[in-house]
Symmetry: C2
Subunit: 672 residues, 2 copies
Amino acid sequence: MVELKNLQAFLKSKITGKTLYALPKQWIEHSFSQYGGKLSMKDGSCFVDPYEYFSLVIEQIVQNNNGADYSKSLAQLRGEKDASWLMSSKMYGALPRATVAYNHKGFGPFEPEDIFGYRESGTFLKMIALLPYLKNLGINVLYMLPISKMSNIFKKGEIGSPYAVKNPIELDDSYADPLLDGMDVQEQFKALVQAAHLLGIRIVLDFIPRTASRDSDLIKEHPDWFYWIKIEELASYKPPYVPELPFKIPDPDDLDIIYSNEEVKKHLGKFTLSPDKIDPEKWEKVKHMDGSVLSNIAKEFGIITPPGFSDWVNDPQPTWDDATFLRLYLDHPALSQRYISKDQPPYVLFDVVKSSKFPGNEPNIPLWEYLSDIIPTYQKRYGIDGARIDMGHALPSELQDMIISKAKSIDPAFGLIAEELEMKNDVKAKNEGYECILGNSWYVVVRSREFYEFIEETVPNLVVPFIASCETPDTPRIVARENGSKLKYLAPALLYLAPNAIPYINSGQEIEELQPMNLGLDNTIYGKTILPPDDQFYGKLAFFDYYAMHWNNADGSMYNYLKWLLKLRNELSDLYSGEFRYAYLNYQDGFTANYSFWKEEKGFIVLGNLDLVHERYIEVFVSETAGRSIEVENVVVISRYGKKKLPISGTNVIPLNLLPADFLIVLVNYEV
Amino acid sequence: MVELKNLQAFLKSKITGKTLYALPKQWIEHSFSQYGGKLSMKDGSCFVDPYEYFSLVIEQIVQNNNGADYSKSLAQLRGEKDASWLMSSKMYGALPRATVAYNHKGFGPFEPEDIFGYRESGTFLKMIALLPYLKNLGINVLYMLPISKMSNIFKKGEIGSPYAVKNPIELDDSYADPLLDGMDVQEQFKALVQAAHLLGIRIVLDFIPRTASRDSDLIKEHPDWFYWIKIEELASYKPPYVPELPFKIPDPDDLDIIYSNEEVKKHLGKFTLSPDKIDPEKWEKVKHMDGSVLSNIAKEFGIITPPGFSDWVNDPQPTWDDATFLRLYLDHPALSQRYISKDQPPYVLFDVVKSSKFPGNEPNIPLWEYLSDIIPTYQKRYGIDGARIDMGHALPSELQDMIISKAKSIDPAFGLIAEELEMKNDVKAKNEGYECILGNSWYVVVRSREFYEFIEETVPNLVVPFIASCETPDTPRIVARENGSKLKYLAPALLYLAPNAIPYINSGQEIEELQPMNLGLDNTIYGKTILPPDDQFYGKLAFFDYYAMHWNNADGSMYNYLKWLLKLRNELSDLYSGEFRYAYLNYQDGFTANYSFWKEEKGFIVLGNLDLVHERYIEVFVSETAGRSIEVENVVVISRYGKKKLPISGTNVIPLNLLPADFLIVLVNYEV
């Protein structure tokens, strides 16, 4: 806890008493029962002395200190032996640079850094200040999108995407807060992890082993870990079109067709050897030149790393300009070698990308060692608690195994989330060593039929839990969906209380933020035109542009609602270990989502009306639901409008009215 | 011509023969009858060796060298004694950073600077390359929006507005092209002016004497030239609301009301003395500290320059966050002094802003000298030919006089454009020493009734010419207007050929660019949502964001059309010195715009159908039009579809059919 305490001492020493730093009032309201520092309100904004504010937040966090080593994972600290903690986790997903971005000047436009020296874009210090707000919300896992050093070239918007990783081991310097006056970003991140652990919040990070940024720091020492093309080929570089094949993931049978295609042949001709192979002596000079290595290679060798593209044949999406593939094998894919001439330089094609399906014979062992040491580095250095592995499905299974087993050997309770959107791949993910899958709840919640099937058939039968999300960093916001004003209540209620669910709140969901962070899933290009055009962030996406969420528009009701749901999940936790049962209803037309859990005489039944237009009258047959005779003594019905004791006992039938998009939680012989 | 030749020699020495620099094909097509350098086409883009390309452009320009000193204004060079050259000018308005912005990589997204060291945003070198393209279009005046050092703070978008001037004497470094390897931006601008003069193109610049950026470089030496408020007042700083008054420019009679208003009193209390007055010793230290002067003043004194606001009382527009007013008088406005307490620090209010109407008694002479020396500095250093003065109407008339007379004393033929949008103020502008007004043609062209009045009543009676523009940097694009597909032809035809017109092409108009550069005039916030959302520049405005125009979408037809119009104006120039006459038509319902010019037996008649829906049959009575008997021997009708000789002679009546939004030019006894 050295770092956190240093940080606090430093802040304390700088207190000026001038309240010139604006903050979202929610950060203060939900962190302090009564804020003890100086505070002034101007035009609806809270102004504090930032040094005082941050030191008071930390003071409060540090009160939880019981002498443990908070630089270790919570599991290590608590002596946990497996990642079953994920089963009871409540997750908040953040892109810190946007999550805690705010116009700290309190006037004029948002600026990433302002004249007063405030970093208005997100920093780790501000993430520390957000922790009590998250704790109060009921969160115990903070999942962060990549925070490692981002690349700044070939970028789509104002700033590089967090997924264009320039150095997976280093943290991005933009996360250092200038208020800490030059304190190392690593120290600041250590303090964040310590603070989280003090509050019982685990830290899960996102890692991307399959790709690197085009100008990756790794090029300097390992130019041969990358593919290379001639610069003059760049302008027309794209995945070759194979008219004989449909849009598909390639199969071994397709290789004949692929490699006899003329465009493919031309494509292969664009690649060259890496600079160290072209001219080792020159390379020794170029690698030590000033400035960007990639830029120097481009100038001196006339070659460059190519943009990435999808592992599907004939995928219409454009190239991924800010990322390039790492060369996982020293040879070409084993099944493809017969098509390739002897002097073909290393190349990228659908089969190469999909190395899980088309491995080579010679693994690039030093690269594999490097990639599988990334997570352990974060474990040892910071004590992180878990990781999501991006595009794990495209990795050779041996590499994926290496990554997972190294992490587990350090911390057997290290949590691993698979980037697996297909719910039916739960068994596969489990077998690969993952404890949890992302799933596609965000997709089904806006589709009544699919939502019903999801709740009734998919979710109860999972072998690993799923991330129960109404929205993710890649999807539209739940409030911006059709019927969003109803679904923003119904969807989290049914999902967060469902079996095998890990309740997930997407940063901004709790303040009803409208603008998505990315358009990656279930969206169209029009998804970025959600805000009114006079909004500073109109048309901006947090993945590619500076973005600050609309804290000043929020009234706190969604925060309180989600907090209430998470608390409810906890209060019912006792019963989840009981028996899962479908509810037995007087009638069912596929629109009344339902599930229940029973332990002895006690149970709860969740009912959701997925018909967003019509209300319905429902009778619940209690004994048939529980699968045995239950003596009903006490029935309490909870809705988002309140809690009500039903004046019935000694009956087997509970009559209920469900408004459109409404849900009810029926407690039988149980109270919370 | 030293600079231009140096530049060429340098470029020539760097030629590599590698064609890796993408360019709009229009730049090449319209600059060279046959491009002599290496050129390769990839995916519809032209790729050149940039060193070769630019050196060939300059080589061609330099061929016009006849030994004159091209570093002087064209008027000085030609011995012109007045600015009558404006009467025959054809103007192109450019914001260079956007006008010549292009993705020179030729793939992926546009980036202001890319990994190959190409500056994709506009540079003076690229403006040089654009000159032959402009020359070929028929342009002889290049008007540029502010190119002086821009501020980077309190900015609305990705980059500072060109109107937030940090230093009016220095050029913005972003205009230096890295291809020229550290050559000074001043040298590069000198070369641009020389190149323009070699082609007979004059350079007119935009100057903004009324305001400065919030962090103006002038603060360091002259903190007392600025107004100052306490930092803690910033968040709520805005023009006070005076409920007793409507939305209006203040009159002397309003001062009683204004100064007895409580909000105004509070407003006055926000101001402080300048830092040098607060604590001269401390100021001496602070002014020499490292880093931004404004930032240091804010930290050390707790004060800052306030944002600007409108000179109208109760103007609903927000504060101008990136600009602050200069302190033109050392005392308060003379008429307001009776309301002000003795110890009131210098302050900004409607009357102060409108110093033309509410002058003080003590002009801030050193500042006036500074402001009136700005244009002369550009005249002496670069040989510019003219200037537009921004917000001249808000300047004290003595200051305006100083500015104009100093410029004229150096170059009596220096051209001065007033920022005067009201056509009826032509006499006022002329009296103040301006040779030309902006006017509001861009407003009337989309309003048939107003357009008719404009052409028939306003334009023929002007005492100074007006800028004949269908669009400006502040307005919507003509193609994006309702009926834009028709008006883009009709409006420039009627305007460019009109009496007292200075044909003006707004950068991008010739390639039918859709997105406006700013929303300042005749637009709404939705004006920025014109592009398809998947366009990289969706929602971006060139005034506030990086922007590159859509060169690759243009087919050249609008360029050729405008070129044809400008040529036609030249071909008819002989007759403009003849007699102006309205056309005498068989009937007139206020939709057939018309004018004609006559010299002896020769004349031309311009007819435009402002009815965008209905065609009309028109008979022109020739002798009645000319006001005397004309022997019609030869009638040629020119339309945008071609030229046609009418098979009539010896008649007085010319029958014509005008399609909706069509125009015809009827030549009587004259041919072009």
